[in-house]
Symmetry: C2
Subunit: 226 residues, 2 copies
C-alpha cells in the first residue's frame, strides 16, 4: 500500500518513515524546499530517502520565504539557548502555516497516486511548541481532506499518521536504532555552520542532544563533525 | 484592514476581489502558478491586480504538475461540451487538493501579514462540481487555520470569505459590472488557442457564456477575439 511521507531530512521524519516502512507501506517521500536557509537539510533528505529505499522521492519547491515572518526563512537570528524547549511560547523559528502547506501538498500527491495514508513526523512531547504539531490539528486536517478532495467525496478516508506523536525524543531514537536507521545521515540544526555542522545551541540541536542522552547512545553526528 | 485574496485572473476571483475591496479591505493578491498550462491565466491575474489597485501582489510557483492527475496540469485532453456543467460527477479538470494548497498558502501569507481574512472566489451554484468549493469544506478550513497557526492559538479567528458562494454566474457578472470591473482583462478558458482565445467549449467557457447571457450583457472577450 502506498503512503506519502513528508521527509525533511531530520531525525523525526526519518524515523517516522522507517516506522511506516516496517508496517509494510510503500514509501513515496515528499521533500518540500520551502526557502529554508540550508541546503544541508535537502542533502540529508536525499541521503535518508536512498537509505530507506523509498519507491519514489519528489522534491517540490515553494518559496515560503516570500511571505517572510520566520527565522527559518529570513535573515532573522535563530534563537539560541532558550530556557526550556517545549514550553508554552512559540519561537521565532515557527514558519506560518508550514505543516498546513506541507500536508496539503502531501494530500495532492496522495490523491493523484490513489493513496490514503499521509505520514508526518510531528511530535507533541519534545517539540518546539508549534501549534501545527498537535493531535487536534491533525484530526482537523483529516476532516478537511475528506471534504476537499474528489477521493474523499467518493469515500476515501484519508489518514494522517504521526507515529512519533506521543514519544519522547529518547524513545524516538531508540525506535530508529531498533529499525536500523543511520542517524549520521540526518540533519537537525536550524543554524548550521560550514559543511552543515550543527550549532549545538538552537532548539533543534538541544532537543536532539537531549534525545540521544535519554536513549543512552552517542549521536553519530558528534563524531562526524568532531 | 488587510485581506489576502486568491487571484487567478478568472472572472470569479476578479469579482470576489472587487467585492472585498468595496467592503474596505486592503487587497493583498496571491496568484499561484501551479503548473497550469496557460500563461494567459497569469497575464490576466497581473492585469486584474493592476486594474484593482491592489496593495501587494505575490506570485508563488508550485509545481502541482509533478503530481499529475489533472487535465489542467498534464497533456490529457480538456473535456468539451459536457452534458451539464455543475452535475454530480467531478470532471478531469479537477486538480487534486488544489484549493487546500491555495488556501494554505493564503493562510501562510495572512499570518505573516497579521491579516485575518482570506478571500476565495469559489461558487457552489454554477461550478464544475469540485468538492473544494463547498461551504462545509470552507468551514473545515477555518477550523484548521485556527488550530494550526500561532495567530490562531493566540486568538485570531481566521475567516474565509467566499462572497460568490451562493450567486449564479449571471449575478456574479452583474455585481462585477456594478463595481466597474473590466471583464475583458479576465481569462476563463481551460484550453485557450493562440493569443489566449477562449475555446468556447470547455466547462469554464460554457459557464462564462451562460453567465453573460443571464446577466444580459455581451462578454467583452467575444469582441476582443472576434
Amino acid at each position: 500500500m502506498k503512503a506519502v511521507v513528508l521527509l525533511s531530512g531530520g531525525l523525526d521524519s526519518d524515523t517516522a518513515a522507517a516506522v511506516i516502512k516496517a508496517e509494510g507501506f510503500d514509501i513515496h517521500a515528499l521533500t518540500v524546499r520551502y526557502g529554508q536557509r540550508h541546503q544541508a537539510e535537502i542533502d540529508a533528505a536525499r541521503a535518508v530517502a536512498r537509505a530507506l529505499g523509498v519507491q519514489a522521492h519528489r522534491e517540490i519547491d515553494i518559496d515560503l520565504a516570500a511571505f517572510g515572518a520566520s527565522a527559518l526563512t529570513t535573515d532573522a537570528p535563530v534563537p539560541k539557548d532558550r530556557p526550556a524547549a517545549g514550553g508554552d511560547d512559540i519561537p521565532s523559528t515557527y514558519v506560518p502555516a508550514r505543516n498546513t502547506v506541507f500536508l496539503s501538498l502531501a494530500l495532492a500527491w496522495a490523491e493523484a497516486l490513489g493513496a490514503r495514508d499521509l505520514i508526518i513526523g510531528v511530535n507533541a512531547l519534545d517539540y518546539s511548541g508549534y501549534p501545527d504539531c498537535r493531535p487536534q490539528y491533525l484530526a482537523a486536517f483529516e476532516r478537511l481532506a475528506r471534504l476537499g478532495t474528489k477521493a474523499g467525496v467518493e469515500g476515501t478516508e484519508f489518514r494522517i499518521h504521526a507515529p512519533l506523536l506521543h514519544l519522547t525524543k529518547g524513545l524516538i531514537i531508540r525506535k530508529g536504532i531498533e529499525l536500523g536507521l543511520d542517524y549520521s545521515l540526518t540533519h537537525s540544526c536550524y543554524d548550521p555552520g560550514p559543511r552543515g555542522a550543527p550549532c549545538g545551541q538552537c532548539d533543534s540541536c538541544r532537543l536532539r542532544a537531549k534525545g540521544f542522552a535519554e536513549a543512552g547512545v552517542e549521536d553519530p553526528l558528534v563524531r562526524k563533525f568532531s
